[in-house]
Symmetry: C2
Subunit: 325 residues, 2 copies
């Protein structure tokens, strides 16, 4: 579809300003509009992704700790978000770093999977605008109404919107009340199809969930605190795309998992770039489980978390994690 007249002017203004380096008043003169309008168009061009400003994330990979962690675990790349007071607050910094890394890892025409959770939503929230037509953003797990606004489909949609990419949502609930129904629904062509395309993703963005009483699954009502507690005793260590994994990162054969409609964990592992972002210190054990399970190839963590993982790897003599490459 051809450009609308106003979009045409916006493109021209952006082009003259950013590519030719004219001043706003020169642009205004050339386009015969006021300088204020030029400023307005330029803002809009930035917010539409017509103009793209990206910053290298090298600052966060440039760290001996990152190198050590990569060497010890076999992760492809590690970004370390520092916690000293010279830096930004890590809670605010982590999503920004993650969003930048995400953009760095996307290639033209890629299919990317986006999972769910507070972390992912925060990343969506600071995702820069870009013009990535040709990219497809797919939702990795079923939907779950949340009391606050972090529904899986919202994460996908928001990211797709900002990237100007196509968003493909998953129109099924995350958990059903019976295994039979879940099984049947999984077999439905429209759902089946989407589940099947997940392994074709070039990049996945997710976090790992904890299994405490205040974990996301509990808060959203998918599981009661008591159930979660019991699952912990049965060996659950963390949550990946709504499903419980054990301490070795394997799918846990439990009622909840069997009733769950979400990316099958084998498909997730098959994705070449698995970008895992972990914010809270409390997610240490879940993270270790996820790493053992091979759910990450690219990792973004705080300094202290990186230290703890490195220490654990050394202490337990854990080797390099399985890689799909």
């Amino acid at each position: 579809m051809p450009l609308r007249a106003a979009d045409q002017i916006m493109h021209k203004a952006a082009w003259l300003y950013y590519s030719h380096g004219l001043r706003q008043d020169e642009v205004a003169q050339k386009l015969e509009i006021s300088r204020a309008s030029v400023a307005m168009y330029l803002r809009r061009a930035r917010e539409t992704g017509i103009v793209n400003i990206t910053t290298s994330t090298e600052l966060f990979t440039d760290d001996v700790l990152a190198r050590e962690l990569e060497d010890a675990t076999g992760l492809k790349a590690v970004w370390i978000v520092p916690e000293d007071r010279q830096a930004m607050d890590p809670a605010a910094e982590m999503p920004v770093v993650a969003a930048s890394v995400f953009l760095e890892l996307i290639n033209k025409g890629d299919r990317v999977g986006v999972a769910w959770g507070r972390t992912v939503y925060h990343i969506a929230d600071v995702m820069p605008f870009a013009d990535l037509r040709g990219v497809t953003v797919v939702q990795l797990c079923g939907n779950l109404g949340a009391p606050y606004s972090y529904r899986p489909d919202q994460c996908t949609t928001e990211i797709a919107r900002r990237l100007n990419a196509e968003g493909i949502n998953f129109y099924a609930p995350l958990v059903l009340s019976s295994e039979r129904l879940a099984e049947e629904l999984r077999g439905e062509p429209v759902i089946r199809e989407q589940l099947d395309t997940i392994a074709d993703c070039h990049l996945a963005l997710y976090s790992v969930g904890g299994i405490e009483d205040d974990s996301h699954l509990v808060k959203c009502g998918a599981l009661s605190a008591a159930e979660m507690h019991r699952l912990g005793e049965e060996g659950a260590a963390g949550v990946i795309a709504g499903q419980l994994i054990d301490h070795d990162g394997q799918w846990l054969n439990c009622a909840h998992n069997r009733r769950c409609i979400s990316a099958d964990l084998e498909s997730m592992r098959a994705i070449r770039k698995r970008m895992m972002v972990v914010q809270e210190e409390a997610k240490f054990e879940p993270l270790v489980a996820a790493l053992k399970g091979g759910f990450a190839s690219h990792l973004i963590v705080t300094t202290s978390m990186a230290r703890r993982v490195l220490e654990r790897w050394g202490r337990e003599g854990l080797g390099r994690i399985p890689s799909t490459d």
Copy 2:
């Protein structure tokens, strides 16, 4: 290699300013330096490619003429540089468009070939700075000392420098005085090797040369005006990477070509994205020859040139050009 202290500060400043949207004085305060220093670091960050600002080239593809030309010729994409007085001077605009398109077409890890000529040099001259480590820029043709400063190796080097990419130069002259010597030199392992990698390029950037008396090859002294004139009578229609092609875009079996050390034309055609940029109106016939020869998959031309090509294609009932895809 870890970052130098000053680079670290530059990265931090760029990060806070561009990724977090702090003001320069806030950045200055955070980093405990003066605002003037922040401004200085930011400029440097832009000039180093740590910060990347790109503008969509959609403005130039959004044109019915571009669509028609793509459909008629089978070119993958066409960018049209307008000539109305509302726009910039096409002579200044074309290289800027070309540079942007070039950046748009490069992917991480690509090997890109760069040919030679005034046009290419102008493109290098306005190429934005970027941080494309992992990209390799290779020179597509042998060297030729020019009275002015457009030597093939300089084009390659300058582009590589701006992109922070690796530049691979070609240490051989473009034309030798005897066929025997050219043949022997082509057989030298170091040259052979470079010639062999050309077909592995993912992207090539070039223009097509004319065969008039004031053509580049003549001006640089590779051929005399008289020789060029004679070659024209023998069927030469244009110049690709220093070599003459006939009206169908085929390699011309002439003494000059046999004495030439440059990318073999089959290799050039094997490159998936062949980006051709043509500025001068006088290059119409050479362009048609180059198109027939399949030397372009992506084309950047002025409005009037696009019209002429389209008209010719229609008049002669020429089909879609051969494509390597």
